[in-house]
Symmetry: C2
Subunit: 334 residues, 2 copies
């Protein structure tokens, strides 16, 4: 088997990161962790899309401020979102006068950006790059599903798009957290056509990436404090657990899905849990990386999952392609 695993010679640091979320996310299980929250999900803007742009801007500026940096200190920005033609990223980050790389990996976009930024900082092409991604429940609902006013009913396996943005500054400058390995995802199609069950479409991609990682690295699940998935949701994480068990990969007690844990999914009636480019990004920026920085965790595998589809591709009968990009994130505290 061909080796896709990337082991960094000079592992880049996560110099800083930050998150911005909406009301439901602030009322969820990790509510106290997020840097900034809005009470009406509008962030002072006249449209949901502009609110999402504002979240991107705030997330990047907060991450920069934490590290006492300005946007001029960045060599590049990698950014993406779920909105058609990724306009929220381009508009939201317009004030930063920095080379801009638009990326799209659905809900896996943050991990895709972190892999690209890490490879290019490791290589010395950039000394500091930002990764910013977002999603907004209201901009996504009307684009992917129904106008909010319609009050469409949701199926039990459906997920709730997180209103949130996360920003990461990847650099060679130093810090308490390093990205030491990366494994980019491959597209995986298992024929799932139900747009209300993204977890089922993404779980096989998560398994594909995870099994490639353990085979190629020689590591085992027990070598890590946590194996984080982006937003498989309750349905997807149960499929992944089953696939791991069937193939003798013992991940029990290690799997942590950002979509399941960002909300009190029963209490908040979130069905299968959270999803969206802002889910993995906000949870990783505000809960996972700070815990590694404090030394509460030594080493985690962080894998964001994406469902590559559009309303049109589903209407045309195409199946939903899954992808999962993986990073190994280690603390530098001994």
């Amino acid at each position: 088997m061909k080796k896709d695993l990337i082991v960094f010679d000079t592992p880049p640091y996560v110099e800083s990161c930050a998150s911005v979320v909406g009301r439901h996310e602030h009322e969820g299980l990790l509510g106290e962790c997020f840097d900034i929250h809005g009470d009406d999900d509008r962030f002072g803007m006249s449209t949901w899309e502009k609110a999402e742009e504002e979240m991107q801007r705030m997330a990047l500026n907060t991450a920069l401020a934490k590290a006492k940096l300005k946007s001029e200190d960045l060599d590049a920005i990698f950014a993406g979102d779920l909105i058609n033609q990724c306009t929220c990223s381009a508009q939201g980050l317009l004030t930063a006068d920095v080379p801009f790389f638009g990326i799209y990996g659905a809900c896996s976009t943050a991990a895709e950006g972190l892999i690209l930024a890490s490879m290019l900082v490791d290589a010395g092409h950039f000394s500091r790059a930002a990764v910013v991604t977002s999603s907004h429940n209201c901009s996504s609902e009307r684009q992917f599903r129904f106008p909010l006013e319609y009050g469409g009913q949701r199926t039990p396996t459906s997920q709730w798009t997180v209103t949130g943005a996360g920003a990461f500054i990847v650099s060679s400058a130093g810090g308490a957290v390093r990205i030491t390995e990366a494994l980019p995802g491959k597209t995986v199609d298992m024929g799932v056509c139900d747009a209300n069950n993204m977890g089922a479409a993404m779980a096989p991609a998560a398994y594909d990436t995870l099994s490639r990682y353990f085979k190629q690295s020689g590591n085992a699940p027990d070598d890590f404090d946590m194996i984080i998935t982006g937003d498989l949701g309750a349905e997807g994480i149960s499929i992944l657990s089953e696939m791991c068990a069937e193939h003798g990969m013992n991940c029990s007690g290690k799997l942590y899905d950002c979509g399941v844990h960002i909300y009190d999914i029963k209490g908040q009636d979130m069905h299968s849990g959270g999803s969206g480019c802002g889910c993995f990004a906000s949870v990783t920026a505000s809960y996972i990386i700070p815990r590694i920085a404090k030394g509460e965790m030594k080493s985690v595998l962080a894998m964001a999952t994406g469902a590559l589809m559009s309303p049109l591709s589903v209407q045309q009968g195409e199946s939903i392609i899954g992808i999962a990009h993986l990073l190994r994130i280690d603390g530098t505290v001994k």
Copy 2:
């Protein structure tokens, strides 16, 4: 001024490239150059989107075949298109079992991918990566403008989305063409809100990138056989020429816009010319790079331009953000 110019230590080669186009493109000025053309723009498929997917698949497979490679020989694919959530790339390249990076830079996507692939091959992270982008007139028209059946009238400054796909294999293996420098684009907003005049929105971004390049490299327009722009069209290229002249940058006789030259724009009634992710990609893959490989040109600057907008962002009154990614492509023939 901060230096963004990337000069490759070990400039990667364009080991192979290929293009697939539709009927109008085959009937255009460069018709004989393209590797494959379809007569009905359907490529045997039942929807325009599936036809676009098929073009991506054919372009990649043709580029691989020319270099006697299989998809397993690739370390990564960078791919993108204009269709919502970039589904044509994910679906079209599904059969290639290769790490997949989705990118989005509107019509600049091919150059964005070439920059990323070149940096990562130069760094040794990948030894061989593919870049594939596409656009299809019929899938774009109904998504961005009107259903074809409506027969909407087009304004004189509007552009015709190219039905085409281009694929490039960037590698360390050798060849007659190398990518020696790269300058990633920044987002530029000059307040243009007319979705039927993309050229005006993109020209300032092209000028921004070009002027940064000449300042940072110390080179002058006369050092190059051609300065290629992706798809400014007749309107945009005239704005860029004016901006260059005003700032004392003498590009006269050097500028070559793929959108202007892919069609006989008067004879084919193409208004301002071609556009789309497939415009720069197909012209560069089938006309520019082969000429460099043959030694007919020694050195060119190739700059793909993108208009970062969506129908929704325009309806909401947001202006159209331009971006232009630049590559320097040199022949190895002495």
